[in-house]
Amino acid sequence: MNRLKPENAQQLEDTVKWALSSGSTLEILGSGSKKALGREVDCSCQLDLSGLRGITLYEPAELVLSARAGTPLQEVIETLRAENQYLAFEPLDYGPLLKGQSDTGTVGGMIASNLSGPRRLKAGAARDHFLGFSAVSGRGETFKSGGRVVKNVTGYDLMKLLAGSFGTLAVMSDVTFKVLPAPPEEKSYLLAGLSDAEASRAMILALNSACEVSSAAHVPVSVARDLKGCAGEKSVTAFRLEGHAPSVRYRLDRLEKLLESFGKGRITATTESRVLWSSLRDATPLQDEGSSLHSIWRVSVSPAQGWRYVEALNLGPEERCFYDWGGGLIWLSLKGGNNAVKVRELLEKISGHASLVRAPVDAPDRKIPTQPLGAGEHLLFKRIKQNFDPEGILNPGRLYDDL
């Protein structure tokens, strides 16, 4: 297969124009770290963006960073770290789940798949930090949207449209996003032995308080056994507090009192907290699940309904789950590769959507990894796709079979 690797934005435009004129289709890859996520595409060429590399603007006091789309995410994270800044949305690393390799993604891929992590609750996802881009549409035209400032309502917010579009509308060459000061201190408060229902109540209480909990997760005992940093024979309900040290101390004290009725908890050290949340972010406890037998799903629901949803799913003895986002994100490990109907049927009654992360080879679920749409919405998606990529040359079928 042809693998085209443009070295600059002009070559990127030329490549797309060539694909148009030659009737080729393009599979768009940053580093390929999330190739196994979503639907498989069948394209005549691969468009490798790893040649578009480098941070082009970073002004810490302005809280803004621009980079070429193929820049390794790790390079950005390390650059920010040197200035005590970070990506507040904490992009999850699918590497360990999909390939067993960590930290190989690019910033373009981060945005195209709208990544986020446990801090999604408080800080939003990649979409909320994405300020501007330059991209080549499926018409072979280079266009831009947004800018380098946070407050901007000039024209449609095409950043939102491209975040999470999996390269089906345009190929980004340059992206700009908002960065933030990293909190100097982080601690977690852990409760042990709560049932899913009790944990849900504890998380509501904590998140509804002025304690400014930035992440709340519940790990039932079946997964807690494999939890890095605090493995044990009891469920773990974790609350993360971040910020300036005097504030974190004060809020921990408040939180402990607030949650008194749920038993005596434990405060982690800073490092332990960081290990715990990065493990929850990347779902590492589920990483070694027998990949030939199990499927992994990510389900987003209204947070208070999370545990009821799982209860209704009626998990089998070899199936397990854990909750992030205060109960609103459920990571599921289910047996076999034919669970889509069961997983999605229950969502019709409550608001939410389910995405397949990983499934055995040839699993039927792999054909519809993204939540199917209602007829009206689907029609709108098709018209949008048609207006960005009329010939269907960019990642055709990556999201849905006819997009």
């Binding site: 407050k151 024209g155 999201l399």
Partner: protein, 495 residues
């Protein structure tokens, strides 16, 4: 500013259209008398006035759907309107278009504390959401200064901001879901009480689309627990450079204040004369820095900011000792617009955003332009996020002065773009900045945006004449010119 020529055949059908619409919204929901229509002839941008063909006030999403389906079939233009507080003319009526007024959608439908969200109809005011939950110590974070009047539906259409954006985000960051009606009458829902959506983020796209893509009929927003406390610092500087440095230094220290506002000398003087907030009058720039959160954090950070401001050369520094004093610090800033109104018969409020470190340059250029145009200007500035509100003072009774003020405003916005900023931070493009869009975007950029419009409204019936300087037919925009030939760029590495 030119609006599209009214369609004479539609004007001639006015009575017939009104009669049909009465079958959808019976009783007094269809407004046709010229006297009553005058109420609707402008929004917050009062320099432009135009009564609509007629106004209609539906009460249900079903009615909105039937109205839009009828207009779609008959080729009638529709301008949606919330509370009519737009500062960019987003709700300016069209002579040959019906004005779709959403004011009767005024109910709070669901307060869901367990999921920390509220479901409301779009005509509920921004402040109305906070009012519905404040007794339980929650609030809705975005706070545009028109919050007492502006509707949440309008906030979605404009992606409204406010003084707390730096820490809490704009409307788009605080929305969970919407129900909306497309021009063909179909009713769709995006999002809900959960986070993120599969595929294209149409909730995000709709936010800030200025009524060009659909009509919002229900909104689900995130609410937040009220911060334990808030305190403010009032800092005076001998120059705007030093005030700007102080803002950068605060952020560089890892502090994100709840609000950080700057005023220049003319704005300080006007505000102080109006509300006597105790602002220092011997300074060139004033900063209000508000820290909110847990008591211990606020006390800690107040100390840090005070120290930083001293290092940056603040000549006056006061810290609010109680809630009353904090409110007083804000009183001058919040009254800045009416305060300018006392100095000048008319003023024109601009809304560019710039990279913060360009502020001294932009202020200097603005002073030069002020002399050139012979018009005074005062500046209030959301300093944390670079959003500038120059207030140009003029007198519409003096021939040519409105045009001069508009030209001055356009020059300011061009300057914002020139230094790496944008035309509008939170007020929207509307009709006001429509003809400046090409200062920021190329023709290709604009055409790609218009193609988004085509996906939603291929007949361009929803709010035409707003946002985009030129209208193209969707068929023309859809055409592709593919140049056949061999690979014209053999230098691309291949593997």
């Amino acid at each position: 500013m030119q609006m599209p020529d009214p369609d004479q055949t539609i004007l001639a059908r006015r009575e017939e259209i009104a009669n049909h619409l009465r079958t959808i919204v019976p009783g007094e929901g269809v407004v046709v008398s010229p006297q009553e229509l005058r109420v609707y002839e402008s929004d917050g941008l009062t320099a432009y006035r135009q009564p609509p063909l007629l106004a209609i006030l539906p009460e249900t999403a079903q009615q909105v759907s039937e109205i839009l389906a009828y207009c779609h079939a008959e080729g009638i233009k529709v301008v949606p309107r919330g509370s009519g507080t737009s500062l960019s003319g987003g709700a300016l009526p069209l002579a040959d278009g019906i004005l779709l007024c959403m004011g009767k959608f005024n109910r709070v439908l669901d307060v869901d504390y367990d999921n920390r969200c509220v479901v409301v109809q779009p005509g509920v005011t921004n402040l109305g959401i906070t009012k519905a939950v404040e007794q339980d110590s929650f609030y809705y974070a975005p706070d545009p200064s028109s919050q007492i009047a502006c509707s949440i539906g309008g906030n979605v259409a404009e992606n409204a901001g406010g003084v707390h954006c730096l820490k809490y985000g704009l409307t788009t960051n605080n929305l969970l879901g919407i129900e909306m009606v497309l021009i063909d009458g179909s009713i769709l829902r995006f999002g809900g009480k959960h986070l993120d959506s599969p595929g294209y983020d149409l909730l995000g796209l709709m936010t800030g689309s200025e009524g060009l893509l659909g009509v919002v009929t229900e909104v689900t927003v995130r609410i937040l627990p009220k911060p334990e406390t808030a305190r403010a610092l009032l800092l005076g500087f001998p120059s705007s450079e030093q005030a700007g440095d102080c803002v950068a230094a605060i952020i560089s220290e890892g502090i994100i204040p709840g609000g950080m506002e700057m005023m220049d000398k003319p704005a300080i003087e006007a505000a102080e004369a109006f509300v006597q907030a105790g602002y220092p009058l011997d300074v060139e720039a004033l900063l209000i820095v508000e820290l909110d959160g847990p008591q211990a954090e606020v006390d800690h950070l107040i100390g840090r900011v005070s120290e930083i401001s001293g290092n940056c050369g603040a000549q006056t520094s006061r810290t609010s000792q109680n809630e009353e004093e904090r409110q007083l610090f804000w009183a001058g800033r919040k009254a800045a617009f009416p305060a300018i109104g006392r100095l000048s018969p008319d003023y024109y409020c601009m809304d560019g955003t710039i990279p913060r470190n360009k502020l001294p340059h932009v202020l200097r250029r603005m002073r030069e332009m002020s002399t050139d145009y012979g018009l005074r200007v005062a500046n209030v500035f959301h300093a944390g996020d670079g959003n500038l509100h120059p207030l140009i003072m003029y007198d519409a009774n003096n021939p040519g002065e409105l045009e001069r003020a508009e030209d001055f405003g356009s020059d300011i916005l061009r300057l914002c773009v020139e230094v790496g900023g944008v035309l509008t931070g939170e007020h929207g493009v509307g009709v006001e900045k429509r003809d400046l869009m090409s200062e920021m975007f190329t023709e290709i950029d604009l055409k790609q945006q218009l193609r988004v419009k085509c996906a939603f409204d291929s007949k361009a019936l929803l709010n035409p004449g707003k946002v985009f300087p030129e209208l193209h037919r969707c068929a023309e925009l859809g055409r592709m010119h593919i140049h056949k030939g061999k690979l014209p760029f053999p230098d691309i590495p291949r593997f």
